[in-house]
């Protein structure tokens, strides 16, 4: 995983003209990674267990679902919109997938695809509302979030779905030589999204639309279409994340996914995806995801009472947003 990170980080660091020239600029641009290393060392000093292979595997697995949803959240942010409904979409769509298996009797694979398809459609629908109806994404997706949370509760009648087939839960449990398989999906998604953003017309258009939608329109970019596509891909990623979460936990609760909301939004922002659009990359999202995961796991391992975990998580988000603001202000 670290190799992948550095392999991906290398081309990003080479992007010319974007890095600050001063030491402070360099620190601010890489603050996530510096912070991450520092925390790993600190947690390791507190508790030797932190450095065990088992814990590393644990972090990788934990980071996978947050990573999928973090990538999803990053996309609308890049076009200067936001989708708050993605974590709820993750939970709802996985329940649909599970019920397609249990109630319709579809094979697990098809049922899973139905779930992911529903998630993708919901993303597409959000995109339509925001572009064609000119709804404000913050409010539109907030209401979508409430609808989906409610729908999940209604679907499950408050019960937890546990009768998931072996095929469905395989990816969440499988290991090769002791190493979990699930993170591979995240790595694939990460690489695919990095390629999409850096190498394709769509990726360039996403950055342009986020940077200046009016100029992008005049430059011949179909702004609405680009926005709809980003919401749709975000929905798809949430759907896959939902499948992975269900598979890993071997259960779908009546509020599946909801607990991810804050962290899913925090991860890309900590990783340097600007809430004003047009800035940020996949490597940053990875950094944000790993940082938040390490904090969660680390706080648990050094036995910080659970009452404090939420507060510290909140502080993390606050600091991250403040750093983002400072960086944009002084280093563009």
């Amino acid at each position: 995983m670290n190799q992948v990170a550095s392999a991906l980080a290398a081309p990003a660091a080479k992007t010319p003209g974007k890095e600050g020239t001063s030491v402070l600029g360099w620190v601010l641009h890489n603050v996530v990674w510096i912070w991450l290393v520092a925390l790993v060392v600190i947690f390791g000093l507190f508790n030797q267990y932190f450095f065990t292979t088992f814990n590393l595997q644990n972090i990788m697995v934990q980071a996978t679902v947050l990573g999928m949803i973090g990538l999803a959240v990053a996309l609308p942010l890049l076009v200067a919109e936001i989708d708050l409904s993605l974590p709820a979409n993750l939970g709802f769509s996985s329940a649909i997938g599970a019920m397609a298996y249990s109630n319709l009797g579809l094979p697990w694979f098809l049922a899973m695809l139905v779930g992911v398809g529903v998630a993708t459609l919901i993303g597409f629908f959000n995109g339509l509302c925001i572009t064609k109806l000119r709804m404000v994404s913050l409010i539109q997706t907030l209401s979508m979030m409430i609808i989906l949370q409610g729908a999940l509760l209604a679907l499950t009648q408050g019960r937890t779905i546990t009768n998931l087939p072996d095929g469905y839960v395989w990816i969440g449990q499988a290991a090769i030589g002791g190493w979990p398989v699930m993170p591979i999906i995240f790595v694939v998604a990460l690489v695919a999204m990095a390629v999409m953003l850096r190498k394709t017309v769509l990726g360039r258009s996403i950055y342009a639309v986020g940077g200046n939608p009016v100029a992008s329109n005049s430059a011949g970019i179909r702004v609405d279409r680009v926005k709809i596509i980003t919401f749709t891909i975000a929905g798809f990623l949430a759907g896959v994340g939902g499948f992975l979460l269900g598979s890993w936990q071997m259960a779908i609760t009546s509020n599946q996914g909801s607990s991810y909301l804050l962290y899913a939004i925090a991860a890309p922002i900590i990783g340097g995806v600007s809430v004003f659009g047009g800035r940020g990359n996949v490597v940053g999202v990875l950094g944000g995801v790993l940082l938040l995961t390490v904090i969660q796991v680390g706080l648990a391992i050094i036995a910080v009472p659970s009452f404090y975990v939420g507060m510290i998580g909140g502080f993390m988000i606050f600091i991250a947003v403040a750093i983002d603001a400072i960086r944009v202000r002084y280093f563009g």
């Binding site: 003209g17 342009a208 100029a215």
Partner: protein, 506 residues
């Protein structure tokens, strides 16, 4: 005012002085050890090529940015720490090169931004509205209009008026006349003269020699961040001498060899175009022809080209290329580009550039599809394209991968122009193409457009700069009431004739 400063202000003939002023942006030395003084009650011109450091200098004087080193003296007193608010309170007002407008406030509120009439902390709205209405009298701007809906020129005027009515002692105007009509310009100048008579001092930045000669008393020239010269008596200079002072070499003004296209078949035919403010029955353009559009604001020139490019909805209208069948006008800029129509907006700030992207990314932005194979961008193709236009436009920057928001205004304009030219259009529409571009590069740009026309492109240049039109076109369409009121071609195209055509009494 303390006794000491009162004495100082009597002794110092300079209301404003800067000493050894330097501004560094990382490796870029934007301003290098500049010292100069501005005399009380004069209009002081500031000249120089694009990227010479003019905007940087006035941003330091007005407290928008902090100098790397050097001192600023106001009334003979060194200013310890300059910030915008403090400088405005000391009577220094800057009208920046790019409009500074809060889009969702009204025109009236923008005029009074930060200088609201208030009592006890409450804004006095009735006074604000009355004052604003008085200031906007005769400008045609509705005080209650949302600033975001105003066009580029109107937004610019709001900034200028705010400074003019501020009661400031020193008013700095950074290229205020770009895209202003002849009439607006005359109005601005008479306004400046009135204020000057009341003792107000001006710093006036412009790329137009005739303006400098007309309005300025003294001038200073910057070149590559260094003070390269100046004079206490501008009136003693000719336009050629001024150009030479700016460029450090003689200037050959470009003049197109006009051609007649009457007998040739039309390459682009517009028919019954009707949209807001436009009612054009028929307009033909020929391959290789350059047509100038002028007219007062709202006369229909700008409105027509925006409609042809698909930026505003049209009620009716068709376009036909050569002997192809007529089509509906494009519904969006994308459709327009696909049909071979390219458009340069007159407002690079709002709809020309993605500022935090690089020069290269901006140049290729309208050509992405042609630079890609099955959706994947080709790095080589993109580099070729952006390098070519980076060179051709003479963009002054460390390289094509420099971010656009660090460029000077004129260099940003070149990037915009490069993006539009790179699309290889059949119909090229340029709205104020040389806005903010210095005299030297302007000739290069006109030459590039001239060359393009030789390859068979039909070109429309919309401009309020009559001299530029005279030098670059074959035919002129003067707009009035949404339609072409008069056409000039050949020897009939002269500065005088155009000035008449673009004043309301003409």
């Amino acid at each position: 005012m303390t006794a000491a400063s009162a004495v100082a202000s009597q002794q110092d003939p300079f209301i404003l002085r800067v000493e050894n002023l330097t501004k560094r942006y990382g490796p870029v030395l934007a301003l290098n050890d500049v010292s100069l003084g501005i005399r009380r009650g004069t209009i002081h011109g500031l000249l120089g090529e694009n990227g010479a450091g003019k905007s940087t200098l006035v941003s330091l004087i007005s407290g928008q940015r902090t100098p790397t080193s050097g001192t600023i003296f106001l009334d003979g007193r060194a200013i310890a720490s300059v910030d915008i608010k403090a400088m405005e309170e000391a009577g220094v007002f800057l009208v920046t090169q790019e409009p500074m407008i809060v889009d969702h406030l009204t025109a009236a509120e923008n005029l009074m931004l930060g200088i609201w009439p208030s009592s006890g902390g409450f804004v006095r709205w009735s006074k604000l509205r009355a004052d604003a209405a008085r200031m906007l009298e005769g400008t045609g701007i509705d005080p209650q209009a949302m600033a975001g809906r105003l066009d580029a020129v109107a937004r610019r005027k709001l900034n200028i008026l705010r400074a003019m009515f501020s009661g400031g002692k020193i008013i700095i105007l950074d290229e205020p006349t770009a895209a202003l009509t002849v009439e607006d310009r005359a109005q601005l100048f008479s306004f400046m003269r009135d204020l000057k008579a009341q003792g107000v001092t001006f710093i006036f930045i412009s790329h137009y020699n005739d303006e400098i000669l007309e309005i300025c008393d003294a001038c200073s020239v910057l070149r590559d961040g260094v003070l390269a010269g100046g004079t206490e008596n501008v009136k003693g200079l000719t336009s050629e001498q001024l150009s030479e002072l700016v460029l450090g070499r003689g200037l050959v003004l470009f003049q197109r060899e006009r051609r007649q296209f009457d007998t040739e078949p039309a390459a682009v035919s517009l028919r019954s175009v009707v949209s807001a403010g436009v009612r054009v029955e028929a307009l033909d353009l020929h391959a290789g022809e350059i047509v100038g559009f002028t007219g007062l604001p709202g006369a229909g020139a700008k409105e027509l080209v925006r409609a042809v490019f698909g930026l505003v909805p049209v009620r009716s209208g068709t376009i036909a290329f050569a002997d192809e069948a007529p089509h509906k006008l494009p519904a969006s800029p994308r459709d327009a580009f696909d049909a071979g129509i390219a458009f340069l907006s007159d407002d690079r700030h709002r709809d020309g550039l993605v500022k935090h992207m690089t020069i290269s990314e901006n140049i290729s932005l309208s050509s992405l599809v042609s630079l890609a194979r099955s959706g994947f961008l080709s790095n080589d193709a993109e580099r070729n394209l952006s390098d070519r236009y980076f060179e051709a436009m003479g963009i002054k920057a460390p390289g094509p991968s420099t971010t656009v928001d660090t460029l000077s205004g004129g260099n940003q304009q070149k990037v915009c122009l490069g993006r539009v030219l790179a699309t290889k259009p059949r119909l090229l529409i340029l709205d104020e193409p040389t806005r903010g571009i210095d005299v030297g590069v302007k000739q290069d740009v006109l030459r590039i457009i001239d060359d393009l026309s030789r390859s068979g492109v039909a070109v429309i240049i919309v401009s309020t700069d009559t001299d530029e039109i005279v030098r670059s076109v074959d035919r002129v369409c003067i707009f009035d009431g949404g339609a072409v009121r008069e056409e000039l071609s050949g020897a009939a195209i002269t500065n005088e004739r155009l000035r008449q055509g673009t004043t309301s009494h003409g």
